[in-house]
């Protein structure tokens, strides 16, 4: 029984979860092995309903845990076909062992991660703790700021991940609830246009080719392990970014929507800027515009590609700015913060004279308000005026109790 196509309006009102589920439907996944967890559950539910209504033809396997979900995805991907799943938070943490196995075995799998805090204390709301947990796992990580991005970046993810020069799994991140459960207008692609963008899956080393038996997931010790890991890192460092850029370019031609490895807003003449991810990018853009009306030349840099880390693109985006604030939405638990560290790394050894300070915000879904960002930009301008960082290098914003600042 052939599957049915779906007629979409040019603009649909979708939340991030449904946008991702629609993208998966349009990519015609061969196997989705999944397990529900808040706030990513509606992706899996949406896909299940598509299956029940004959809008997808592939297998939909509801397994007994997130670890099994990724294990099943790995087996399915090694068998040779298009594979995807979705998760959040504790489920993501449970998957971590298999995330390393998926990437080390060079299997293209797309994982929608709806970002959520990590317990304890248990919390279902959005922060970036799970996203940060994935950053050494050998996956490509793309970050969506809104439902439109969550839709579009899924197509980019399959296109890049399944490229035979890449063969690395890819996560598409969106903020729990703020994106996943907030309905917005989403410009759609028709089923045919969307599918032809990602194209047919082209198998490689597939277990179901019985004329060419393959062994997946071997043992290597000190004799070969390093070479395998080095090769994977090499491909992440040299091959992935050009493929992402090419995918962004062809997607822009198709849809008119332009994505960049690093998203810069009002940065051409900015004195001060924030570097952030997820829904905070849009909030910061709005505040930056308002700060300019007050005479502060404010800009925003959003990270679109988290892994591989856009080292040179970041350096380029920040080269002329005078004061930078990084916004980390995950507790660094004893360190300056991931974005702070990455920016410091990207800017060290360059000609920048910019001052760098870090802010930790929004843990467990705590709102980042415009007022927070107004005072943050004001502090950055004070740093510029003073010619030095006038605050401690790490500050917590939006947390109750006495002001928390370190370093």
């Amino acid at each position: 029984m052939a599957f049915d196509k779906m007629e979409l309006k040019d603009i649909e009102v979708w939340d991030g979860n449904f946008a991702a589920a629609q993208a998966l439907r349009q990519c015609q996944i061969d196997v989705v092995a999944a397990y529900p967890i808040t706030p990513s559950t509606p992706i899996v539910e949406g896909y299940g309903k598509f299956k029940a209504d004959n809008y997808v033809e592939g297998e939909f396997v509801m397994v007994e845990s997130e670890h099994a979900a990724m294990s099943g995805c790995i087996g399915a991907a090694a068998a040779g076909g298009r594979v995807a799943t979705a998760t959040s938070s504790q489920g993501f943490a449970l998957m971590v062992e298999t995330l390393y196995q998926a990437s080390g075995m060079r299997l293209p799998i797309v994982l929608n991660v709806v970002n959520r805090a990590l317990a304890a204390p248990l919390n279902v709301n959005g922060d970036h703790s799970d996203m940060y947990l994935g950053r050494d796992s050998g996956w490509i990580q793309l970050d969506a700021y809104c439902p439109q991005d969550a839709y579009d970046l899924n197509f980019i993810a399959f296109k890049v991940s399944e490229d035979h020069d890449v063969r690395l799994p890819c996560m598409v991140h969106q903020d729990g609830f703020m994106t996943s459960h907030t309905a917005q207008g989403v410009h759609t692609l028709s089923d045919d246009v969307a599918y032809s963008f990602v194209g047919d899956f082209k198998p490689m080393n597939d277990m179901l080719d019985f004329e060419h038996p393959v062994t997946h997931g071997v043992q290597t010790e000190e004799d070969w392990h390093f070479e395998h890991k080095a090769r994977q890192h090499n491909d992440l460092m040299t091959k992935v970014m050009p493929k992402i850029q090419a995918a962004f370019d062809s997607f822009e031609k198709l849809s008119g929507r332009k994505y960049n490895i690093v998203e810069s807003y009002d940065m051409s003449d900015a004195d001060v800027c924030v570097v952030c991810m997820g829904t905070s990018v849009e909030t910061a853009r709005e505040v930056a515009t308002e700060m300019r009306a007050k005479g502060i030349k404010a800009g925003v840099v959003g990270i679109r590609v988290i892994r591989p880390f856009p080292f040179f693109e970041i350096g380029e985006a920040l080269k002329d700015v005078k004061a930078i604030a990084t916004l980390d939405r995950s507790s660094p638990n004893g360190a300056p913060g991931m974005l702070f560290n990455e920016m410091a790394g990207a800017l060290f050894n360059t000609d920048t004279k910019a001052m760098l300070s870090g802010y930790v915000y929004g843990l467990g879904g705590r709102d980042l308000t415009k007022a927070h960002l107004v005072s943050l930009y004001t502090e950055l301008q004070a740093n510029v005026d003073a010619g030095k960082v006038t605050t401690q290098l790490q500050q917590f914003i939006g947390v109750r109790g006495p002001k928390l600042a370190f370093l």
Binding site: D30, V31, A33, E57, G58, E59, V61, M62, V63, E64, S65, H67, A68, S71, G72, C73, I74, G75, A76, A77, A78, A79, G80, G81, V83, E97, T98, Q101, M105, P203, D206, M207, L208, D209, F210, E211, P213, V214, T215, H216, G217, V218, Q219, T220, W224, H228
Partner: protein
């Protein structure tokens, strides 16, 4: 459905369609390789195989070598069953979509795992695979111990066995808990076929593997795999120890169809005392001190009771 392979005799069986190379790193006398060859040689169909982390895996796929002349995957310790389930799901998807490269084949999906990877850490994954009804077979290479990591107890380790984490000592006789009844647990999922097999009874093994491969749905096989290193016997005695295991009824051979129809498939002509089975292995040596002899008596009682229970179930068809 594919045609069932006809096997004339042991020579024919042991040499035909061999897709598991003798070139591997398993210990001399290891029963794993014998069991794996018996499972693989029971069919001429294509195979999609997995091994969970353990002796079989680390000894047969050390880069840049492989002992497997069939599609094979290892992911981790707990999830070999789910790896095969994922591959089976992909097979079904590509079949539906008409994208199989060799659509005329009838591949069999088989996961191998040790007792540690099945009774303990992989228990949930196997239960999930059985419950969901994947068309696959999970084979436990049951050596009653974590052999790959040096002989730690698992929930398959029997009472009185000395292991490195439940060692016999001045005040301990070793393992205190009885072996988990995995075949019953898996049969209780209502799967079409569950069975216990032993490599010495190869005809019984072939019959069960072929039956398991012919049925639609998940199949669970528990294979006794005497471990020369951890059970502590001479490598040349593997088959002798296996004979003692089956003929003492410590490892009774039976099958459970559709979760309820139990058939005993081997009735030893001369049932030997459990004591003989235990006396042949170093792991039970300490039980032969006077103070622990009551444990050997308890063992015999337990084996007798289990055998009586199997007979009652066979008769009652429950």
């Amino acid at each position: 459905m594919s045609e069932m392979k006809k096997i004339k005799n042991l020579k024919d069986f042991s040499t035909s369609a061999d897709r598991f190379e003798g070139a591997n790193l398993l210990c001399p006398g290891c029963a794993h390789s014998i069991i794996v060859r018996e499972v693989l040689n029971a069919t001429n169909d294509d195979l999609v195989l997995s091994a969970s982390t353990g002796c079989l895996e680390v000894c047969t796929a050390v880069y840049p070598y492989t002992s497997w002349d069939a599609s094979w995957i290892h992911i981790g310790f707990e999830n070999g069953s789910t790896a095969v389930a994922g591959a089976e799901a992909m097979y079904n998807a590509l079949k539906t979509k008409g994208r199989l490269k060799q659509p005329d084949r009838n591949p069999k999906f088989v996961s191998f795992a040790g007792d540690g990877a099945s009774y303990d850490i992989g228990f949930q994954w196997i239960s999930g695979c059985m419950e969901r009804g994947h068309n696959m077979m999970h084979v436990v290479l049951d050596n009653e111990v974590y052999a790959n990591t040096g002989g730690q107890r698992s929930s398959s380790t029997p009472i009185g066995s000395s292991t490195t984490t439940a060692p016999a000592g001045r005040i301990s006789y070793g393992e205190k808990k009885n072996k988990k009844d995995m075949v019953s647990i898996m049969a209780s999922h209502g799967i079409p076929y569950a069975a216990q097999v032993a490599p010495n009874k190869w005809k019984d093994m072939v019959k069960k593997i072929q039956h398991g491969m012919a049925v639609e749905g998940p199949v669970f096989i528990n294979a006794v795999s005497p471990c020369t290193t951890e059970w502590k016997f001479d490598p040349k005695d593997t088959m002798h120890i296996t004979d003692l295991a089956t003929d003492s009824l410590v490892f009774p051979l039976y099958e459970i169809i559709d979760g309820h129809e139990l058939n005993i498939t081997y009735r030893p002509k001369n049932v030997i005392p459990v004591e003989e089975y235990m006396a042949a292995q170093g792991r039970f040596k300490h039980l032969f001190k006077d103070e622990y002899k009551y444990l050997i008596k308890e063992w015999q009682d337990r084996v007798d009771e289990k055998w009586a229970q199997l007979n009652r179930r066979e008769e009652a068809r429950v």
